[in-house]
Subunit: 261 residues, 2 copies
Amino acid sequence: MSRPHPIQSVVVIGSGNVATHLAQAFKEKGLSLVQVYSPTAAHAEELARKTGAQPLTRLQQLNTDADLYLISISDDQIQSLSEHLPPLHGIVAHTSGITALAALHRHRRHGVFYPLQTFSKNREVELQNVPFCIEAGDDDTADRLSGLAAQLSSKVYPVSTEKRKQLHLAAVLVNNFPTHLYHLAQTFLEQQELDFDLLRPLITETGAKMLEMDPDQAQTGPARRGDRQALNLHKELLQSQPEILALYELISNQIVRTYHE
Amino acid sequence: MSRPHPIQSVVVIGSGNVATHLAQAFKEKGLSLVQVYSPTAAHAEELARKTGAQPLTRLQQLNTDADLYLISISDDQIQSLSEHLPPLHGIVAHTSGITALAALHRHRRHGVFYPLQTFSKNREVELQNVPFCIEAGDDDTADRLSGLAAQLSSKVYPVSTEKRKQLHLAAVLVNNFPTHLYHLAQTFLEQQELDFDLLRPLITETGAKMLEMDPDQAQTGPARRGDRQALNLHKELLQSQPEILALYELISNQIVRTYHE
C-alpha cells in the first residue's frame, strides 16, 4: 500500500472559534490556506487577515482544487451547507462532536476532524495534547485526515460517530456544566458583595488536578465527608437562591450516595 | 501604634492536606515548626519528618511557648479540640472555611487563617496566588495572622465568619460539584469503553480559562445555543443513566433559561 497523499491545501468553511484556531494552526504548520468562508464579510476578512487566505462570502466562488474543505459551523447547519457545495475532488470534513459522518455522505471523500477541546477566540491553546477524533468514509481519507491531525497533536484517534457522540456528551458534563456552576458562584458572590476573583485560583487548580488525579481521589468537601451539619448550613445560606439550592441538593445527595453507600 | 510582634514559632494541630501544605510552607519561610500533632502516631511522624518538628500524639505534651497554634482538622472537631487545649499565651487559629471564629472564643488570642484553595497531599500548590481569609478576635491578632499569610501569598483579606461561610459555599460549587461531574463523566465513558484520559486536557483548559475570562463569556454548547436537537440526542444517550440524566436536565434547563430568557 502506498503512503497516502498528504493534505497540503485547505479551505476553511466557518469563522468561529474552532475554525479560527485550526486555520491558524494549519498556517503555522506550513499548509496552504486557500480560502476562508463566512457569510458575514467582516468575519471572513478577519480570519483571512490572520491566515493569508482569500476571504469568501459566497460558496459559488469556492476554489475547487483544495485537498480539504473543513466545515466548522453550527452543528445544525452542516448537512445543509454540505449539500450546497459543488462536486469536489478533495476531502469534505466537519469538526463537530455531535454530527454524524453521514451528514456529508453526498461527497465522495468525507470525514470528521473533531478536536476535543474548548476554544475561545483570544486565548491560545496548546494543540499538542488535544485529542483529535478522526472518522472517514474510506481508509485513504481516514489516513490523510489522521496525518493532518498528527501534524498538530500527538493524540490522534479513530472514533466512530457513535463513540464521538458519547465523548461529546461527556465533554458537556465536564465543560459546559462546570462553567454554569462557575456562573452561579459568581452571581451568588456578587449578591453578597464578594469578588469572584477570589475563586479563580481554586477553579484553575481544580481543573489542573485532573491531569494527574482521578476524580474520586480528588473529591473533598461536606458531601464527600457525609457532614450533615455543613450540608444543612449551606442549604440555609441558599434559602433565597432556589436555582442554586436545587442543584446543591441534587449533587450533594449524589456525592453522599457515591461515597457512603 | 507599634508594629505587631511577628509570628515566628508554630505548632500545627492536624496532619491532613491543609496542615501538611501550610506546615511545609512555614518551614520554607524559615519559621520554627515546634510540634505537629495527630492522634495517629504515623501521621504525626510523617509530617514531623517533612518539617523537622517534634511529632505529638497527646495534647498534654503540648509546648505552650509557641506564637501560633494552628488547628487544621475536621470542621466538626475544631471546637471540641480547642476546649481541650491548655491556657495558651500564643494565638489559637483554625483553617476552616465553615467554622465560626467563635468556636475558639475560650482562647484569649483567637483567629481564622483560611486558605481558599484545594490541597492534595502529593501535589504542590503555588501559594503565592492563593487567597488567605483572615479573621481574629482582636486587631493585634488579625495583624499578626495577616503578616504571616503575607509571607506566603500576595492575596490576604480580612473576611468575617459570615462572608467566609459564603465563600466556602461558593468553593463547593466550583470545586466539589465539578469534581462530581468529572466522576460521572469518567463512569459514563468507562461504561462505553472510552478512556477518561481523552477528557483531561479539556477539563484543565476549562478551569484555566477562568483565570482570564468570566463564566458567561466562556459558556458554549447545546444549552447555551438553545439547540433542542442536540439536547434531545444527549438525553437519549442517557436513557440508562438516571443519575446523570437528572443532572443533565436540571443544568441544561438552567443554562437555557440563563441565556435565552
